[in-house]
Symmetry: C2
Subunit: 308 residues, 2 copies
């Protein structure tokens, strides 16, 4: 089975030794590697009645890659541990691996190793390595008052797609896709770092929630301007009307889009939109100068509703 998952894959030049031995060997040219890990659990982070195994593979790679992007680095290699019931069709595992390779390929990265074990339900645990190429990592703690807040990538799509799937609402295919497979703005993390970003994170929990982490780490206030988010709002108005939701709750509180938010001292690079400003503390996030009354973020499928 493992042979089937690893054979015929094309490793990037950073992979000095791929799968098949006790460990892989990955180049880290500047003498450091960024590393992050995320675990996805069936019924909590994905549903197999909504997602194909290929979707699950892409999502697992994408959300790990976004953590590396958010440091100003470029993902180079992934290792994957996959737990599944004994009766899982081999074709499903192969499709999961294909999805991982498809997404890793978009990054020029490789899947260099893994583990395959029995579990009661699907568990996909991914670790990503990243290359900072000599850059200092862009932390959450560097934001200073007066700087500009900007975003790269879209907001609110994943939350909208989740609600449409949950309500079994037809149409809005693109939004449903974006819940199943997020589309982080690959490459923009390094762009932000090279433009002097003071602080950065990816939007995994929700814009307000993740900016809250950044505000606390930097001990600053952050004021979000909704006028910078009009394009996100507009993209969601129709779907929001269809399900009776306020689109701002998705834009400001929806997670898992894995957009990047960063703080720039001056000009914002191409591919980024200004959405706010860093202000003096206390550490808090305001929206148009006032407190935001909606949910700040999202925590997987934790509503208590039965899944499968």
């Amino acid at each position: 089975m493992i042979d089937r998952l690893v054979s015929g894959r094309r490793q990037p030049t950073t992979t000095e030794l791929g799968p098949g031995d006790d460990a892989a060997v990955v180049r880290c040219a500047d003498g450091r590697t960024a590393v992050s890990t995320d675990m996805l659990v069936e019924g909590r982070h994905f549903r197999l009645d909504w997602s194909t195994p290929h979707d699950v593979g892409r999502k697992a790679i994408a959300q790990n890659a976004a953590d590396i992007e958010a440091m100003g680095a470029r993902p180079t290699a992934f290792v994957v541990a996959f737990g599944a019931p004994a009766h899982t069709p081999a074709a499903d595992a192969a499709e999961l691996a294909d999805g991982m390779w498809a997404e890793a390929g978009r990054l020029g990265a490789g899947v260099v190793g893994g583990d395959l074990v029995q579990a009661d339900s699907w568990v996909v645990s991914v670790t990503v390595l990243g290359d900072l190429a000599g850059r200092a990592p862009v932390l959450r703690s560097g934001a200073r008052p007066g700087a500009t807040l900007a975003v790269s990538g879209d907001l609110g799509r994943s939350a909208a797609g989740f609600r449409l799937l949950w309500d079994r609402m037809a149409g809005f295919d693109e939004l449903r896709r974006r819940h199943l497979v997020p589309e982080p703005p690959y490459g923009q993390g390094a762009v932000a770092a090279d433009t002097g970003a003071q602080a950065m994170t990816d939007v995994s929990d929700g814009l307000i929630a993740d900016l809250g982490h950044l505000a606390v780490a930097s001990q600053v206030g952050i004021d979000v301007f909704t006028e910078g988010l009009v394009s996100d709002h507009l993209a969601l108005v129709a779907a929001a009307a269809a399900v009776g939701e306020d689109p701002w709750s998705w834009v400001l509180g929806g997670g898992e889009d894995h957009a990047l938010v960063a703080v720039f001292p001056a000009a914002v690079p191409d591919g980024w939109r200004v959405i706010g400003r860093v202000v003096d503390g206390p550490a808090r996030v305001l929206v148009d100068g006032a407190s935001w009354g909606g949910a700040p973020g999202w925590q997987s499928y934790d509503s208590g509703a039965p899944l499968r």
Copy 2:
């Protein structure tokens, strides 16, 4: 909760950035990092009625570390994804982390990041990074006829301990401990590499099974001499008699001790025992020149017996 797991830990100098941001940053001084991942599933790789959370943490670190040792590298950093039910006591998670730090500390390595998610039962997924310090990785594929097979560490203890636990047999505490927490021969992987080892792997599935992987990768035969394994046999005779087992089945077929087996072109370094010889192909493993009739290895708690 995550704060409680990461606060107050002392990172090694190789950890340039520890937990708390989107990713960690780890030094890899020679421009490469070895990487490996292993997932442990409750009821399959450990039982919470046998193991304390501290034991589970130590085991998860130890078995990942052994994969890095088996390349001739030294473990530097671990990332950990932990899935557990919502009702899991915070103290259990803290104890798991303490066990991981205790074992990582024996290696001079750090736990640099992680993820904490809800799951139906405990799932512990660990990824380890390792430093080759300029050495070529020692693969499974380099064994040549005429070379000497040697082992560092003990064999059969984990399998004996498992059987004693399974049979609820009193006594033999040390063997039971060795099933719950393996003791790989830390540091000996690098020693083997520095002594010119042609090939190496760790004993995770069982001596005959793992040597089989090495024999296939190297396209050689391997002849194991039981006279080199007398000390392992002797250590298990009393426990084997108590449960009515042949101690050789544990020495030759028992997994999870995470001893290292390596092939040396000439002299064997201190800390290693000669246990056989590499011969011309076909790729197969013989014991004292003949086929071994017992089980070649072990595959977790896969007997079909109900666990919990």
